[in-house]
């Protein structure tokens, strides 16, 4: 019944659509929410959507994980390993940024009691 999903075009279409939806959700959150943590989460969501897109579009139905193990000794029909490696790296970086952001936000809250990005007015044009 879900065989049509085996068609890479359809599958990729769905992935792309989903990733983009996620991207726009993140973007919406980023633009509409003023809570610092919510903004950071929105950024994380946007990043995630990009990872999803990457992984999703780089694999086609029927490909196996690119790991050589028992019985699997050839590189045929394997998914491209590069996107996955890259995504892993990107996730790590994203996490680092997110961690830094959250810690800054917490420090900021402790110092000023504010979490609202709109109330950050120490630095502004005259």
């Amino acid at each position: 019944m879900l065989a049509f999903l085996d068609d890479p075009k359809v599958l990729h279409g769905i992935y792309a659509l989903g990733a983009l939806t996620l991207f726009f959700i993140g973007l919406y959150g980023l633009l509409a929410k003023r809570h610092l943590l919510k903004m950071l989460i929105s950024i994380a969501v946007m990043e995630l959507s990009v990872y999803l897109l990457f992984i999703g579009l780089a694999t086609s139905p029927g490909e196996t994980a690119p790991i050589l193990s028992d019985g699997l000794t050839a590189f045929t029909d394997m998914a491209d390993p590069v996107p996955q490696a890259l995504t892993l790296t990107a996730i790590v970086i994203g996490l680092a940024v997110l961690g830094l952001g959250v810690s800054l936000a917490i420090q900021y809250h402790r110092l000023t009691g504010k979490v609202d990005v709109a109330s950050m007015t120490e630095l502004k044009e005259l």
Partner: protein
């Protein structure tokens, strides 16, 4: 500061003179790829170098008076180096470098005065930089036409190119020379600059604009005639330039008359004098250029003399307004003679060389048949008598109007020595009007491939329209003066000095010390009742430039609203721009 440094400074101030003596070959070295700086000494530059060589040590000497201001001295040295580079430049890049060094070092010198305010300093630097950047734009256009930066006559220029070049260069030099309506920076800065530096500003730096204008003539030998043909017996474009110059002179002269401050008056007078020079350059004939150069020479000597005298007065009294001075003739006699000789030169009266210069210009105007210009120039130069008189009357004659003026002493010797030297030079050139022609001006004219004026002897100034003999004139006048004074003193009778300064015929009353007896600033106030003069004095360009500055600030405020402090706005703008350009691309590319 040790005497070694002082000596070094004096030596540097003599460097233009040394350069003039020692220069014998051309120099050149690379700057960046495709740009070579080259230094050479043309006759024209040599003339202006002579002016610089005369003036620099004379201003350096009083600058050394204790307590000396070391940054000022350093900046003055930089300024001198810049100006020498500018004059020696054989290519436009070194010309521009010299021009800019001159601009910023003079600006920083201007800041050394405690009186300089924001408007003055900003207008000084912005006008001068505008001039510099126009010059640079012109240089780049020139470069794109000729393929290198050498200063040489551009022959293969198309009309629009030549037009843009003339406009760019012309505006640049006219700003520096301070013609109307680009003069607004001059009165303020000459007034508020350090007193001695005002002398240099007016005497030397303003001449660089003149140098540029004359250089422009050599770049485009047919620029004046080529564009719009000839008007009467002269170039039509030059006619325009000449009117610009003459209107500058007229307006500046009337403004000068109405000033109540010595340095401001001299500043406006500078504008007017440079206006004459501009007029002469506009005429463009060999006679006129000789007149322009002669005027430049005289104006340099006279203005330096006057500004140094005034600096001495300000130093000794702390006053600079006409109303606060008076009767200094008895306290500062040498300064009085300095100012007296100065104004005689400034007014262009015989027998001083100011007359020779004006004579050449007048004759060149007659020769070009531009009589209306001549009349306008006469108006300016006759009206100049009024401010000249004001300049000598208000500080030196009349009644002392402030305690400082009553107790002032003669200026210190570093101020007097330059004055005496300058007076001597003025008298020398007055005696021998042909001297300047023969030694200084004719080589330039020959260098510009124009007919030299020539002079039978140094005592004579001779043109195709006639001339005069300076020595005879001076001798006749001197003899007459001696004769008259001698005869007068031989007459029977007694001279009696009035018992008190208040012993006056004063409308039937006896004035007291409280009676306001100094005409000072009142002089020239009646002039406003003349409709034309009143109208001129009511006009001003300051409003326009202040308005422009205001518009700039408003634009800054408007654009500043873009730079809000909210990250979401930043992101929103980025996303919107992204989406919009994508959409535009999609529509254009038919996505």
């Amino acid at each position: 500061m040790s005497w070694m440094l002082r000596l070094l400074f004096l030596a540097v101030s003599l460097s233009p003179a040394a350069l003039l003596m020692a220069w014998d070959a051309d120099l050149s070295w690379p700057l960046i790829e495709g740009v070579r700086l080259s230094l050479t000494l043309t006759p024209l530059a040599g003339f202006f170098l002579v002016l610089l060589a005369l003036v620099a040590p004379l201003i350096a000497l009083p600058m050394l008076r204790r307590p000396s201001d070391v940054p000022s001295l350093v900046l003055f040295v930089l300024l001198l180096i810049g100006m020498q580079l500018l004059l020696l430049a054989g290519d436009f890049v070194s010309f521009f470098i010299g021009w800019e060094v001159m601009t910023w070092s003079s600006y920083l010198l201007l800041l050394r005065s405690p009186r300089t305010d924001m408007v003055t300093s900003q207008s000084y630097i912005l006008f001068n930089l505008a001039s510099a950047f126009l010059l640079l734009a012109g240089i780049l256009v020139f470069y794109s036409v000729t393929g290198d930066f050498l200063i040489r006559a551009a022959t293969e220029v198309s009309r629009p190119q030549a037009l843009s070049l003339v406009v760019l260069f012309g505006l640049a030099f006219l700003i520096k020379a301070g013609t109307l309506p680009l003069h607004i920076w001059i009165p303020r800065s000459y007034d508020q600059a350090p007193d001695l530096f005002s002398a240099f500003l007016s005497g030397s730096i303003s001449k660089m604009g003149v140098y540029g204008l004359i250089l422009l003539l050599t770049l485009f030998p047919d620029a004046l005639t080529g564009f719009a043909g000839r008007f009467l017996n002269g170039p039509a474009v030059g006619y325009l330039l000449a009117w610009v110059g003459v209107i500058t002179s007229i307006v500046a002269t009337f403004k000068a008359i109405s000033q109540e401050d010595m340095k401001r008056l001299l500043a406006y007078s500078s504008i007017a004098q440079v206006g004459y020079i501009t007029t002469a350059i506009g005429v463009g004939s060999s006679l006129a250029l000789a007149g322009a150069l002669y005027l430049a020479l005289v104006h340099t000597l006279v203005k330096v003399l006057l500004f140094i005298s005034v600096a001495g007065i300000v130093l000794q009294t702390g006053q600079r307004r006409f109303n606060d001075l008076g009767r200094l003739i008895e306290r500062m006699p040498i300064s009085f003679f300095g100012v007296l000789i100065g104004i005689i030169g400034l007014a262009g009266m015989p027998p001083l060389p100011g007359f020779a210069a004006k004579y050449l210009v007048f004759v060149s105007l007659v020769d070009a048949r531009w009589l209306l210009l001549l009349a306008a120039m006469i108006l300016a130069s006759t009206a100049a008598f009024i401010y000249c008189y004001k300049l000598v009357y208000a500080p030196f004659l009349g009644h002392a109007n402030s305690p400082e003026a009553r107790e002032a002493r003669e200026a210190p010797w570093p101020y007097l020595v330059p004055q005496v030297i300058l007076m001597g030079l003025l008298v020398l050139f007055g005696l021998f009007p042909g001297l300047a022609i023969d030694v200084l001006i004719d080589p330039v004219l020959v260098g510009l491939q124009m007919a030299p004026i020539g002079s039978e002897s140094w005592a004579k100034l001779s043109t195709a329209y006639g001339g005069y003999d300076g020595v005879v004139l001076m001798l006749v006048f001197g003899t007459a003066f001696a004769l008259v004074t001698g005869l007068f003193l031989l007459l029977r009778g007694r001279m009696r000095r009035a018992g008190s300064p208040h012993d006056l015929s004063f409308a039937g009353e006896v004035p007291t010390a409280e009676t306001p007896l100094h005409y000072g600033a009142g002089m020239g106030r009646e002039l406003r009742r003349i409709p034309l003069v009143g109208w001129i004095l009511r006009q001003g360009t300051q409003g326009f430039y202040l308005g422009l500055a205001g518009q700039m600030r408003a634009a800054a405020a408007l654009l500043g609203t873009l730079y809000v402090g909210r990250p979401q706005t930043w992101i929103l703008i980025a996303v919107v721009v992204f989406a919009l350009s994508l959409a535009v691309q999609a529509m254009m590319g038919g996505l």
